[in-house]
Amino acid sequence: MTMALITYKEAVRQAMQEEMRRDENVFLLGEDVGVYGGAFGVSLGMVEEFGEERVRDTPISEGVIAGAAAGAAVTGLRPIAEIMFSDFITIAMDSLVNQAAKMRYMFGGKAKVPMVLRMPGGSGTGAAAQHSQSLEAWLVHVPGLKVVMPSTPYDVKGLLKTAIRDDNPVVFIETKTVYNKKGEVPEEDYVIPFGVADVKRVGRDVTVFATGVMVHRSLEAAEILAKEGIDVEVIDPRTLVPFDKETLVKSVIKTGKLIIVHEACKRGGFGGEVAAEVMESEAFDYLDAPIKRVAGKNNPIPYCMELEKSAVPQVDDIVNAVREIV
């Protein structure tokens, strides 16, 4: 395989471009996705290639963006809809949760809703409480939705292609603070199946389970800890629904210790679900210490830079948590 070094953002764009070239039913809609290229420049250049028919600027109307995607999907198209910030999914929630997610089940398995709702999530840009949330736990809770949260260029490209080819509504949460991070990505077509976690670092002393930007912070923490002789295994689930329990359970059986790291508020966060999965599994007997969650504080994201940093886990917080547990 020949590899190219590209950014996360470019990887998202390539996945959309390649799928749109492959399948004429795939199209992109959202606010300012056309000539503006999206708020983060993800779709720059796409309207020039595919035209305004298939790269559609919409008015500022999240409810109808998600709802029209569902309606188009159930009638034979494969829309990729962009919500400019994951925070605004609140406005799209009825279309997504009450309509798209349930159509197939309510109709007795007769409908397919092959849509992807892409959105950047997370804090770290100084955009304050209404532009910085990590709301994935809400979505995980809804039967009928798949929830994807890639952390690297390689993962984001392979998973977005899978999302576009999937026949279900997929919520695709992009990590905005890694949009410009580079990574190796194959030049050939490839997909990454849903429900397969990636062991981002192999280790024997402690399992760190992390999502989104926390994967990168956990890897940094692992390098610091390696110098102290602590060998950390870092697991990135990549998809929250479906969830790869097996990889995690195997790792915990090996290390006997589990730390779960996410940016979202600790209370009601996905970490609680992960901990419960482990407690219910055969890994329970192998745990040498209580499971630890390192997560966002239970407050909205503040504007002031230092405060914002202190609201979500940083590398030091992960390092300290590992030191406490080993």
């Binding site: 606010e31 300012d32 056309g34 000539v35 503006y36 290229g37 708020a39 600027d57 008015p59 500022i60 109307s61 999240e62 409810g63 109808v64 925070d87 605004f88 406005i91 840009t125 100084g126 955009a127 304050a128 409480a129 209404q130 532009h131 504080k297 239970n298 407050n299 909205p300 503040p302 504007y303 002031c304 830079m305 230092e306 405060l307 202190s310 609201a311």
Partner: protein
């Protein structure tokens, strides 16, 4: 309508404060001295100042992500505004809100908003309070052309209309919602045309003329205050700078931007004030210099402030 010289000069000052405040913020952003994001209203000052001038001191507003002018129109303290943008604890929101969330409840400013269309329903609720408590106060609900395509716009206007609430919906039509022109985003020519669906008056005025804006707003405010019901007042204006911080302006031409800069609301108002013998050129220059001083002092105040301590992180989540 006769407006006293004093009144007109106070508007001129507020327009200058808005312009210089935002120019300073723009410069600080370029230097990395302010982080995050901000949306500047340079070129739109007349609408914010002319409209808020039609309010009583205890009337209310809801504002938007591009709300510095409306804050200033509602007599906000520029020192605390600048401090907030610098993330300082002496800012309006103790450094926790930033540009998109400046609120001044004491002066009736229920806040800027990071969510486009986030203010419609809040304004309607605030107007309901005024009606039920018979306070005689009115709410001005500011929003952009783009925001009127959110569902909440339509829900709020209908509710306000059937309950005859004392609220006026103030559309700052600057021709674009980010890159989307009104012509592309909206089926009607003017946002005010949408008033017809809710059986309320809708008027479109030159948003770069503070006197026209004032007159139209005052009529709508008086109607609301007397219990007849809500209206839309739309001002046509133009955003000179990029959508946030800066942008590549891929969606519009240099010529268009330059043409609107020629129609600078502040320059035009200065010309009017001098021609009408309200002020002389020399007085105008003095007022301008004074306004620059006010902003320089706001910067000093902000720089002297301290950042909020980490211990404040989890404060103020609940009452």
């Amino acid at each position: 309508m006769t407006l006293s010289n004093e009144t007109l000069i106070s508007w001129y000052k507020k327009m200058l404060h808005t312009r210089f405040f935002e120019s300073q913020v723009d410069a600080f952003f370029a230097k990395g001295m302010i982080h995050g994001t901000t949306h500047l209203s340079i070129g739109q000052e007349a609408f914010a100042i002319g409209s808020t001038a039609a309010l009583h001191a205890d009337d209310l507003i809801t504002s938007t992500h591009r709300g510095h002018g409306e804050c200033i129109g509602k007599d906000a303290d520029l020192n605390r505004m600048m401090a907030e943008l610098m993330g300082k604890s002496n800012g309006y929101c103790k450094g926790k809100g930033g540009s998109m969330h400046i609120a001044d409840l004491e002066k009736g400013n229920l806040g800027a908003n990071g969510v486009v269309g986030g203010g419609f329903a809040i304004a309607v609720g605030a107007a309901l309070t005024q009606q039920m408590k018979k306070t005689g106060k009115v709410v001005l609900c500011f929003f952009g052309d783009g925001a009127s395509n959110e569902g909440s716009f339509h829900e709020a206007l209908n509710l306000a209309a059937i309950w005859k609430l004392p609220v006026v919906f103030m559309c700052t039509n600057n021709h674009y919602g980010m890159s989307m022109s009104v012509a592309r985003s909206t089926a009607v020519a003017n946002i005010a045309d949408r008033a017809a669906s809710y059986e309320m008056p809708g008027i479109t005025v030159d948003g770069n003329d503070p006197i026209k804006v004032y007159e139209a707003t005052l009529a709508a405010v008086e109607r609301a205050r007397s219990g007849v019901g809500p209206s839309i007042v739309e001002g046509i204006t133009y955003r000179w700078l990029g959508h946030s911080k800066s942008d590549a302006n891929r969606y519009r031409t240099k010529e268009e931007i330059e043409a609107w800069k020629e129609r600078c609301p502040i320059k035009a108002f200065e010309k009017y004030l001098i021609k009408s013998n309200v002020i002389s050129q020399q007085e105008s220059d003095e007022i301008t210099a004074g306004a620059k001083d006010v902003i320089a002092r706001a910067v000093e105040f902000a720089q002297q402030g301290s950042y909020p301590g980490i211990e404040t992180l989890e404060e103020d989540v609940y009452a």
